[in-house]
């Protein structure tokens, strides 16, 4: 009793209603939720499902991106592949013989390796296979340091070495091995290239930076020239560059490869293709996000529905609060906060659910788990906004209720 006189005197205007503190607003706004936990769970579930779907889409895509980034980092973005282009008349050009040597002399270049696709040398499992069924497998004469340049791995057997590269020995690309039916390497596993049987010494893993090597039979350059009629003309020069200078050096590499006709040289960066592939997947994501948004909308309607019922049920409470001195604004605020809290609860739960789904999927695929922080934060902010919209009508109804209703129940 002693506290009040001072309070009274402090008021500039005696009949100005007190404003609730933020904490009191949150507390009053959540009191209705605490009283009915089951209903809260059920109506927050709709929001949670929508948010979970959207978070999972973002998370899976982001984890996929993270995986790609990791892969690209492992493969390196500093590989350029130099191939002959076309001359002004649209005819296939050739790389000059000295191309590799000139590129090699550039200070930024760390490593080069070249391959020559041997035209006319088809690859078969044996001479019993009809010649038309070559499977599109190309024979390449390669340098021993090729694997280093393209960072491909040997899946089975061994890579060519000084001894095998001078003899009819071959290493098959991953899909070439599949097409030829080479699933196991024994000393008498042979394939027919041109007119000569080569013994298979190894099979490569899929090469991501040089996919042209997947469907290829790789033999030593010298044996290619001796037996298969290779001409010693490079069909591709793989160039590793100091990662700091890739962008700058890219054009210079082309000019150095063929100083007289730089326009007849094509320089590409294979890691770009990998990134482009990822971008193509994102159209599908838009659809999934749209579905998540739809679920969210339905969830919002659910929250609005719950709030309307809640207001109808709590006439007594509203009347009591009005009797205790709550203004219409206080009542409106209370139900608005309640709707926002209800929706945000679904949002938080949905973010958790979506994160779990992301983690589960990523682990299943052997990807790193990655979820951008803005997805979680954005989801919660969005659900608060949804709650606010869903709560407007119920809150206005609650505030419009006449204060005598609590007494009417007596």
């Amino acid at each position: 009793m002693r506290g009040l006189p001072r309070l009274w005197r402090d008021r500039r205007s005696p009949l100005r209603p007190a404003r609730l503190s933020l904490v009191d607003r949150l507390r009053t706004g959540s009191s209705g939720l605490r009283a009915r936990p089951t209903r809260v769970v059920l109506s927050a579930l709709g929001i949670a499902i929508g948010i979970a779907a959207m978070v999972a889409v973002v998370g899976v895509s982001s984890s996929g991106q993270a995986e790609l980034d990791q892969r690209i980092a492992r493969l390196g973005t500093n590989l350029l592949s130099v191939t002959p282009g076309e001359n002004l008349f649209g005819e296939a050009a050739k790389l000059p013989e000295e191309a590799r040597g000139r590129i090699d002399r550039m200070p930024e270049v760390e490593h080069t390796s070249q391959v020559e696709q041997v035209s006319g040398a088809n690859v078969y499992r044996s001479d019993l296979v009809p010649s038309a069924e070559s499977g599109g497998i190309a024979a390449y004469g390669v340098d021993l340091d090729l694997l280093e340049a393209v960072r491909a791995e040997v899946a089975e057997g061994t890579w060519l070495n000084g001894a095998t590269s001078d003899h009819p020995a071959v290493v098959l690309g991953a899909s070439a091995a599949g097409r030829l039916g080479v699933d196991r390497i024994t000393p008498d596993t042979l394939v027919l290239i041109g007119d000569t049987y080569f013994s298979v010494v190894g099979v490569l893993e899929r090469s991501e930076l040089a996919p042209e090597l997947d469907n290829a039979a790789l033999v030593g350059q010298r044996i290619a020239e001796e037996v298969l009629g290779a001409k010693g003309e490079a069909s591709t020069v793989y160039v590793r560059i100091d990662p700091e200078h890739v962008e700058r050096v890219r054009d210079e590499v082309g000019r150095n490869a063929n100083p007289e006709k730089p326009n007849e040289v094509r320089v590409s960066r294979p890691s770009d293709a990998l990134e482009a592939q990822q971008a193509a997947d994102q159209t599908f994501q838009g659809l999934l996000l749209g579905l998540g948004g739809l679920a969210l909308l339905v969830g919002g309607v659910g929250v609005a529905n719950t709030m309307v019922i809640s207001v109808l049920e709590r006439r007594g409470e509203i009347g009591l609060r009005r009797a205790l001195g709550a203004t219409r604004r206080d009542i409106r605020g209370q139900f608005l906060v309640e709707a926002m809290a209800l929706s945000a609860l679904g949002g938080v739960f949905g973010v958790l659910l979506g994160s779990l789904a992301t983690a589960g999927y990523a682990l299943l695929r052997g990807w790193p788990v990655s979820l951008p922080w803005w997805a979680g934060a954005g989801a919660v902010v969005a659900t608060v906004a949804i709650g606010a919209v869903a709560g407007i009508v119920p809150a206005l109804r609650a505030a419009a209720q006449h204060p005598t209703e609590a007494l009417g129940t007596a």
Binding site: W8, L324, T327
Partner: protein, 275 residues
Amino acid sequence: MTAVEFTGVSRHYPGGVRALDEVDLRVERGEMLAIVGPSGSGKSTLLNLLGTLDAPTSGSVRVFGYDVGELGDDQLAALRARTIGFVFQQFHLAPNVYAVDNVADGLLYAGVPARTRVRRARRALERVGLADRAHHRPHELSGGQKQRVAIARAVVGSPPLLLADEPTGALDTASGEAVMRVLRELNEDGVTVVVITHDRELADSLPRRVEVRDGRVVADSGASRESGDPRGQVSSTGRVTHASRGPTGSGWPRSLRWFAGIGRLGRAGGPTRDR
């Protein structure tokens, strides 16, 4: 000083129902009275008007000098928060919330900081004899205890006016008596207590009775006199009964001293707005 003054107050509801018809009523500060009447007599409407929860169709209602018809929703809310405590037949306690927190909510809209609210809630519970039940939830309390918690909530803000609507209606005799004892003690401390009831026996136990029937005051055992104000005698449109009674208390009790402050805040009334 006058707590409430009704002058020619009518309240009509849509459909031609005249819940109150030309009622004059004056309640002085420090009084304790019963408004008694059968259901449908208009006593609930009277309570709503006393509590500024409703506005008259015509006539003027003054609560501590404020003309209710002239105040906006915000101002009425502030007036209720600071001057009027309500006790309902159905208690209206928040379920699953401790008694002390239920009581503290009585100060929620009065701009009192949370910690102070709890401290004063404890004191209010002490006052109604339930200090040891502070951390009980409503379902752990008997009906009489619940009603005392509700009373504590009504008086935690030390309102000068307490309105009790059938406060013993849902209680057995013993609990009802305990509740009435608390109300009497509050009145002795200077709180103006208005009890709305249909229970004639209960009404007879109070110093003043105002009988309502068909929207009119049909009998009034007379206002207790606090001052020499000649209008202290009740005039009502029905039968006017003058019963002379002594003052309920001698001088202002301790807890009432600051009520004098209200007088400064009260404005002299302007013209009454008819609705």
